[in-house]
Each structure stands twice: as structure tokens, then as C-alpha cells.
């Protein structure tokens, strides 16, 4: 599977990364090299193998339902690049 420039742009759009023409060209080469190398996995027969999802294989612990977090308004807003009072702000979204 080889990625063309349109595919690179589509992926960059999905990933919300602006790319210019030169970057598209460079990424196309690099990504196709990586994907070509990854294609060695085609050799592996995985018939009947259950996928291994995570690093840990236990069952999940469930926490008790209790409010343990105090009002952190200032802490969560303290790093905001832009805010208005108790709100984060972003360029206006038109729905």
C-alpha cells in the first residue's frame, strides 16, 4: 500500500497538522518507506490468534462512586493560552 499526496493531505487533515507542498512530498517518501518496511508483517501467519490489546492482562478495577475532586477551576485554567473568566476560549465555531 503506497500513499499518494492526496492521502498524505487527508491524513494530515485528520491529524489536524497543517502541511505545505514540500512537507507533503517529504512525508510521502518517509511514510512509504516506513509502511513498506512494516509490510514484512504480511509474512506472519496469525490465523486463530487473539489480538493482544494492552500491556496488562488483568481485569479492570472499579473505583467507588464518590466525589474526590474539589473545585479546581483556577488550576485547570492556569495554563490556558486564552481564557475569559472561568471559560477557555477558542476562535468562534460556526455550527
Amino acid at each position: 500500500m503506497s500513499l499518494d499526496p492526496a492521502a498524505i493531505r487527508r491524513i494530515a487533515r485528520l491529524a489536524r497538522i497543517r502541511v505545505d507542498d514540500a512537507q507533503v512530498q517529504q512525508m510521502q517518501g518517509e511514510l512509504n518507506t516506513i509502511l513498506g518496511w512494516i509490510d514484512q508483517l504480511n509474512e506472519v501467519d496469525v490465523t486463530g490468534i487473539e489480538p493482544l490489546t494492552g500491556g496488562a492482562t488483568m481485569a479492570m478495577r472499579l473505583r467507588e462512586d464518590a466525589v474526590t475532586v474539589p473545585d479546581l477551576t483556577e488550576a485547570v485554567l492556569s495554563n490556558a493560552p486564552d481564557r475569559d473568566g472561568p471559560f477557555y476560549t477558542v476562535p468562534k465555531v460556526v455550527e
Partner: protein, 490 residues
């Protein structure tokens, strides 16, 4: 003073032969002197360090101490430190000051450690050379004999490893997703362990690939690593993948010896074109263990060669999602845009470096509609096979011995021609992450150019004790006394 190991410094502090302020002041001086050459720290925190040191002296004066009271450490800048800038070596987090302390660093503070500063790394821990840091490359304190070529310290925990090797930290925290503790430890001639997945809490550690990331220490000796891991490890209810398993006395395990242990040699690790000196060191390591009373057993890990390709699906996939939160809305850097989407695209284009973008792109692609089964699902099945290989091997042996990396440290700017060449650095370390196992790198010898080489000990899940026992045995046999050319002395 700089030649004291962590265990020795700890004993001197407890015996009041040395004060924490003296030790910390000496280390801060060394940082000031050598960091401009090495760039091992992104941020130094001298005032905080002295505050920690004075608190340590106060408790030592009361006759009280924790496991690390007064020990000056470097903290990889991937661990959130409350009130201290935490960047992940990325422009996108350059302004970020966490209002919280990671569980691992909180554990170290609980035990009395002194934080010298935040160590450099590959951006978001993505790299094997420390060349991808937005805060500049780290220089390996070792040089090739007769050459001044600056070498890489390995990565991603390159700053941590370089700082410890150059004696501008007595130990350091690190993280390992595909080899990021073990490979830089090997490149810098120090020890480093990636514990079993779930041993150290991931809470407050900037995530790269959640199912692979594990924190661990780097230090100059195996015992020092054991002491540090004893403090860093432990169950944390805030991390759903944290294992509720007691932390044993790792340091005690270092003295166990290897008599009667069965050590496996995976034949697939003997690769075509492997440097003869690496193969020779490997054979030497096996001989040392045999001499110490272990039995050497040949084992097979048939899917290990697919570990790296599997890793380059799984890790970027998880990373593409984990790094979606860096969008310029709640913290970090923002680049303006006319609308929300443009703001996102500009923020992330400006904020992420080339390698991070590359991995986000790969990860986005392998998860996208129509490709999930061919890439991600397939990789998870191969991952299951890799784990099965190890599980079967550990029915026959107690630990495995392999080289840590296929080469010694290389020059800054080398292996940059295409990404895959760089990725091959992690060929021996990545399968261990895929299976969630503990892996320790021990400095065991030098190559022809006088650069350190490491051997890797791989153990059963949650059997770090055997790993430490084997590692300490190799350390004793190797008698590694070589020193890097850039280091603090006195």
C-alpha cells in the same frame, strides 16, 4: 565525591560524613559547569534542590531517613512536576507548568530525594538519539578514542543517561516505550532497568504509547537502579494498568548470585551483520554467568524479528491518539488561526517536530477506515505471538541474556538518512516492551573505539529480582571501570 555510587553516598549521608547540602551543592556546581557542553538538562532547579537538600539534612539530623534522603536526581522532563515546567522536549509544551506531581516523582520526594532539574529527551520520548528534542540535542559524555566527534547519548532518555554518566546526577528517572531506558544506558556506560509493565504508575507521565510506556531508573550501578526502582515502583489506584503487587527488596536481590539459574540465549538475536565485538561481548557475558554457576540454555523466539515492525504500528497508533490533546486550547502553546480547525492545524504544525509528526501521521493512517485490520489488528495479533514466544521460553529458563543495542553510540547526525535506519537501534529492546517484561541493561565492556556496550537481561513478568541478580553478577564479573571523557571530578 562524584565517584560515590548512590548506595555509597546514601551510607555517607546516613553516617553524617556528608551533608545533603554539600552533596547537592557539589552536583549543582557540576551541572552548571558541564551542562552547557552536554545539554542534558532542559530546566535546572537549583533553589528547589537546596530546599530539598536542607529538608533532607533536617530529617537526617533527627535520625530519620527515607530510602533516598538527600540523593540528588535528574528527572526526565516527561514526568509532571508540580510548579516546575514540564516540556516533554516539545515546543507545544514549552510553556506548560503542571499543577500536579506525577506519582513516580511524588514517591521519590516521599523518600527524601533531591531534584536537580528536568532532563532532556527526544520529543515526547520519540527517538533513539535525543536528536529530536526541541531544546537541542544531548551530547554523549563519551568520545571515540582519538576523535572529538560528538556522539548521541541514545534516546529517548538521553538527557537522563548522559547526566548520570557525566556525574551531574547521582541517578535519574527515565521512561521506556521501545528501549528508551536500556539503549541510552548502554550508549552511556551505565545501568538502566525498564520494569514490568504495571510496576511503576504512569499517572502524571506524559504519555507516548500507553500500552508500552513504563518508567524506570538509570544509575551507575545495578544496585543503585534497584534502590531507585524500589522507591519509584508501587501500586497506584489512579492508573488502571498499575499492578497491585507488593514491591520486593530489589537491592537485596542484587546479592543473590546466579547459581542454579537457567539463562536463555535466544538464537534469533544473533543477527546477520552484527558487530563482532557485540557478539563477542555477548559470549563473554554467557561465560561469566556459566562461571558463576548458571546453566546456559538455547531458546527460540521466532517472532522477535517482527517486534520492531509491530512496534511501529502499535506505538504510533496510540501516540496519534494520546497526542490529540495538544490542541492549544487548555495548556501549552497555541498558534493563531482564523477558525478553530485552522488554529488546531497551525498549533500542531508549529508545536510538533518532524519525528513526532511522522509518527502521528503513521498512527492516524494505520487506524483509519479501511486499514485498521490490515495494520493495527494484525499488529496486535503478532504482539500476542511475541508474548507467547517469551512465555514459552520462560517455561525453560529464568532469564534471557542478549545485547542491548546493535551498536555503540553513533555520531550526532548519523543514521538520519531515513527513519527506518534509526528505528533499527531498538531491535533488541522493543520485543520486551511488546511483551510487557522487565529488561535491564548493564555496562559490560567497550568496543574497539573505547565506547561502552551493554548487555540486556530479560525476566519474567514481575520477576525483577532475578533480573537484578543476573545483572549484578555480570556487573561483578565485568568489573567495568571505564569513565567517559566528560565528567565531574573531585
Amino acid at each position: 565525591m562524584f565517584e560515590l555510587s548512590l548506595a555509597e553516598a546514601r551510607a555517607a549521608l546516613r553516617a553524617r560524613k556528608l551533608s545533603a547540602r554539600e552533596l547537592t551543592t557539589a552536583y549543582l556546581g557540576a551541572v552548571e559547569q558541564l551542562n552547557p557542553q552536554l545539554n542534558a538538562y532542559i530546566t535546572t532547579t537549583p533553589e528547589l534542590a537546596l530546599t530539598h537538600a536542607d529538608a533532607a539534612d533536617a530529617s537526617l539530623a533527627r535520625g530519620e531517613h527515607g530510602a533516598l534522603t538527600g540523593i540528588p536526581l535528574a528527572i526526565k522532563d516527561l514526568f509532571a512536576t508540580k510548579g516546575v515546567r514540564t516540556t516533554a522536549a516539545s515546543k507545544i509544551l514549552a510553556p506548560f507548568i503542571p499543577p500536579y506531581e506525577s506519582t513516580v516523582t511524588a514517591n521519590l520526594l516521599r523518600d527524601g530525594a533531591v531534584f536537580l532539574g528536568k532532563a532532556n529527551l527526544d520529543e515526547f520520548a520519540m527517538g533513539s538519539s535525543n536528536m529530536t528534542s526541541a531544546f537541542g540535542a544531548v551530547t554523549n559524555p563519551w568520545k571515540r578514542a582519538g576523535s572529538n566527534t560528538p556522539l548521541v547519548p541514545g534516546g529517548s532518555s538521553g538527557g537522563s543517561a548522559a547526566a548520570v554518566a557525566a556525574r551531574i546526577a547521582l541517578g535519574a528517572t527515565a521512561t521506556d516505550t521501545g528501549g528508551s531506558i536500556r539503549q541510552p544506558a548502554a550508549f552511556c556506560g551505565i545501568a538502566g532497568i525498564k520494569p514490568t509493565y504495571g510496576r511503576c504508575s504512569r499517572w502524571g507521565v506524559v504519555a507516548f504509547a500507553s500500552s508500552l510506556d513504563q518508567a524506570g531508573p538509570v544509575a551507575r550501578t545495578v544496585e543503585d537502579c534497584a534502590i531507585l526502582l524500589g522507591s519509584m515502583a508501587g501500586f497506584d489506584a489512579k492508573d488502571s494498568t498499575s499492578a497491585d503487587i507488593a514491591v520486593p527488596d530489589f537491592a537485596a536481590a542484587c546479592a543473590r548470585g546466579v547459581k542454579g539459574l537457567r539463562i536463555g540465549v535466544p538464537k534469533e538475536y544473533r543477527m546477520d551483520g552484527m558487530a563482532p565485538e557485540i557478539d563477542a561481548l555477548w559470549q563473554q557475558g554467557l561465560a561469566w554467568l556459566r562461571d558463576a554457576g548458571a546453566t546456559i540454555v538455547d531458546v527460540s523466539l521466532p517472532h522477535t524479528k517482527y517486534g520492531l515492525a509491530t512496534y511501529y504500528i502499535v506505538a504510533p497508533a496510540e501516540a496519534s491518539s494520546n497526542l490529540a490533546r495538544y490542541d492549544g486550547v487548555r495548556y501549552g502553546a497555541r498558534s493563531p488561526g482564523r477558525d478553530l480547525i485552522e488554529m488546531y492545524e497551525n498549533t500542531r504544525a508549529d508545536g510538533f517536530g518532524a519525528e513526532v509528526k511522522r509518527r502521528i501521521m503513521i498512527g492516524t493512517y494505520v487506524l483509519s477506515a479501511g486499514y485498521y485490520d490490515a495494520y493495527y489488528l494484525k499488529a496486535q495479533k503478532v504482539r500476542a505471538l511475541i508474548l507467547r514466544d517469551f512465555t514459552e521460553a520462560f517455561e525453560k529458563v529464568d532469564a534471557l541474556l542478549t545485547p542491548t543495542a546493535p551498536s555503540a553510540a553513533f555520531g550526532q547526525g548519523e543514521k538520519m538518512d531515513d527513519p527506518v535506519t534509526m528505528y533499527l537501534n531498538d531491535i533488541f529492546t522493543v520485543p520486551v516492551n511488546m511483551a510487557g517484561l522487565p529488561g535491564l541493561s548493564v555496562p559490560a565492556g567497550l568496543d574497539a573505539a573505547g565506547l561502552p556496550l551493554g548487555l540486556q537481561i530479560i525476566g519474567r513478568p514481575f520477576d525483577e529480582e532475578t533480573v537484578f541478580a543476573v545483572g549484578a553478577a555480570i556487573e561483578r564479573a565485568a568489573g567495568f571501570t571505564a569513565r567517559p571523557s566528560i565528567r565531574a571530578e573531585g
